[in-house]
Amino acid sequence: MVKSYQMASRLSSSGTMTRIIALSLLFCVLLSSPVLAAQNPFFSGGQDEQKTEEEITNRQEEQKEKKENSCPRLLQTVFSMLSVWQKKLRGHLTQVSRDISENPWGHSFLLFLILSFVYGVIHALGPGHGKSIVFSYFLSRPGRYVHGVLMGNLITFVHVFSAVVIVLGFYVALKTAGLTSFEDVRGILEKISYAFLMVLGLFLVLYRVHELKTGTLTNVQQYKTAETDFRHLALVALATGLVPCPGAALILLFTITLDILIPGLIAMVCIALGMGLTTTFFALFSIASRNTIFRVTVRSQKIFALSSAALSLIGAFAITIIGSLLFFSQL
């Protein structure tokens, strides 16, 4: 009892209690975050049949329920601003692309790359791009900051590279730079990605249970020397990033129509780096959160073991849940 009181005093005096409360709230919200996946609504995605009246009514009922959820006003303003910025950036990118087609390697080219990078940063701030996954992954496992940078960038590079391969594949094979073909393939890859994430999440849950049993994540000494398994990290990044980025694809398709493919491909690298910066931020925050909890709880083996086990399982379960919800929303 006295020990608990002393522990609580230490925590509150250093302000770390507030951090733990904030983190607990953060994890709860993370798990309750909306999971959304959207096809391009203009195309049928290979489904020629229209939805039935009943399906449309159900959708409208769902929409009615969603409307009842509220959101802080500040967040509404931020999302609105992000959308406006993206629209402006796309406008600038369009203009600069046209300038490049007249003068390929002038100032416009440099501006095009800078704008692409900024577009990547802002674009990744919107829903998606694996931020929840990367956050959950490092919640489930201790990691170094370099691992966060690696995973954040790996996800976005795969995400953009996937789009580049599809667009170029169709361009080389069929000599067309069309969005419809891209959307058809994207629909298939989405299903694969989400199924892959679901299975990987389940595997990580089992693996964490194994690690908890062997004490890797609950024994302080073993925890300190625990190394990140790069195979797991790479697989999660691959599964998450597999879905091609329509934003990047649209820009590449546009550069193809203007016959400036090489600047378009270089811009893809800039977009991936921009998105990587945003995603990395989430990875680093997750690692810092776990490190904070380690520092706070390490004085008591019991509390450390409990919190570490809880975080590991929450993180792994979060990946499973996100993968499952996304996968089943596609059926």
Binding site: P41, F42, F43, S44, S70, C71, F79, Q86, K87, G128
Partner: protein, 200 residues
Amino acid sequence: MMKTRLFLVVAIIVVCFSHTGFSHPHVFVDAELTIVFDEKGLAGFRQRWIFDEMFSSTMLSNFDKNKDHVLDVHEIGEIKKGAFNNLRNYGYFTHILIDGNIFDVNYVTEFSAGIHDNRLLYTFFIPCHVVAGDQVKQVTVSVFDETYYTDVALVPDSLSCERGSAFVVAYDIKRIKEFSFYYGQIIPDGVTIKFKRNND
């Protein structure tokens, strides 16, 4: 103390942006709306969608088959079939409340497509018949993609109304909270129309 505050701020930011999904605006549309009345009352809404140049370009590379930068009847038909009809599953992005009740948008008429300043245009009419009476009726309409794949912006200056002298009509454009979507993160602009039969 400063560190704790900073931590809290960062935590809030992370929560705000860590939502999962793969649907953020990839297509940008400026929507122009015309309110249309007939002899009985409200007849519906005429819309003109102007797509962003980048999306337009990729669409046209698919549908402007002869690359003459003009869409002929056949090409418009292909666009309707390939990149418009599926919007029925999304209520053509048009959300309507009649005296607070949801009106389902299931079909459109007069669809056409064109090109203006390198931008793809859609024009169509959404029938929505509301008979005018002696009591004021209120209809609210907004245009948005609830999946947020498309960002639709109502163009306030283009808002107009085609009506005879048989009705008293007032309308304005403002943010409509009842239409908030994407888990309440976005409140779209909408038009509220109040009208009744003119007995003078």
